[in-house]
Symmetry: C2
Subunit: 225 residues, 2 copies
């Protein structure tokens, strides 16, 4: 008689189902948004009953929360630990990692954009803090270069939003932009990558002329209408 | 007996209803997307029957097409006619006009982002050509400055996508970014405006150092994956 193997944790097939549910939910939330996605559609995509899905995950809100956790973990794995002193090349590479993530994990990038665009009340405090700490690491790196005099002075916080926004937008709009540029997508991505490198380098480079010419013509903080 | 006044064109109340339908549709399409919006919701928002809405506009596709036409017209009214020779200040102002539009017409800006993000097959050829001609006017202006030697050399086409993308993203994500920055939105917008001016000026400025340092470290067109 074979010895019974003790089960440690949840059996494998349950874990597989969990992962398949999360992957299906991620895709549906990314394409149709939180409101446009039903638990019925998620369970249909995986081939289980709605009752089984609810048994596994509870509510749609909870399932969505778990998808956002996966997003945060995925993003973490692309973020570099910076120990070296701030240099143009380091900052450029930090932004490039975000570009890599947004194309490697295109559904997650689209979900992040929806989250920023659509979510007024849904986002959990924890989730918001996570994104803030990511942004803070970019800002901190730029400010350290500004303090040491390696980079010129500008609004580091807004520049980080600006650049991450440009990347997120490009990734989300890529299939449409692709058709517009009428080049193959690999080429569009590498042209975007070069533009990103070029633009970040231009922004960081100490150059008194750039600074004084753009500042002198800029009225200080004129709030619109 | 009063003389009957001949009706010229459609009576005013019909035009009003048309405009109210278009405004309601614009808002719903922006917030919920094309798929997430039903004709029933549009008619309910205006306070007419679905039958009346269909009588006015035909299908959801046709209503959506008219909303996109309004978007194109609205955008046109913000685009400057450029006759002067290309200068940093002119290019900066062109991008600022797009920023103005995206905050004055926030629903339309959000709709444009959805269109770029979600639309794989729906977009009409006409609509696409319109956006292309807008982008072409930005690209042309930058290239003319590059030809005259006023601006340094870079990929003008991709830089236009990059910058319009950063602006579109900021506008769409503004309510969330606002909470994250913990400043009032007027302040966030003026900080973004300064960052835009600063960034475009930095990119355009002729500076051999920027150019050679960013080029030398950039491998030429390495397509990903």
């Amino acid at each position: 008689m074979p010895t019974a193997i003790p089960k440690l944790g949840r059996p494998k097939h349950v874990k597989d189902t969990d992962l398949r549910c999360l992957a299906a939910a991620e895709e549906l939330f990314a394409v149709r948004g939180f409101e446009g996605t039903s638990l019925r559609e998620v369970s249909a995509a995986v081939g289980i009953t709605s009752a089984a899905l609810i048994h596994h995950f509870g509510s749609k809100e909870r399932l969505y929360g778990l998808v956002l956790e996966r997003l945060a973990k995925s993003l973490d794995s692309y973020i570099m630990e910076i120990s070296e002193p701030a240099s143009i090349e380091t900052v450029v590479r930090m932004f490039e990692r975000f570009l890599d993530w947004s194309f490697d994990q295109q559904h997650l990038a689209q979900l992040l954009l929806r989250e920023l665009m659509e979510n007024r009340t849904r986002v959990s405090r924890a989730r918001r803090m996570h994104l803030l700490s990511l942004i803070a690491s970019y800002v901190e790196q730029i400010r350290s270069g500004q303090k040491s005099g390696a980079f010129r002075q500008f609004d580091a916080e807004l520049f980080v939003y600006y650049t991450l926004g440009a990347i997120t937008h490009f990734s989300a709009a890529a299939p449409t932009i692709d058709r517009m540029l009428r080049v193959d997508m690999g080429d569009a991505i590498s042209r975007f990558r070069l533009t990103l490198r070029d633009n970040v380098a231009a922004m960081l480079t100490t150059n008194q002329n750039i600074r004084s010419s753009s500042r002198s013509k800029t009225p200080a903080r004129r709030p619109r209408g």
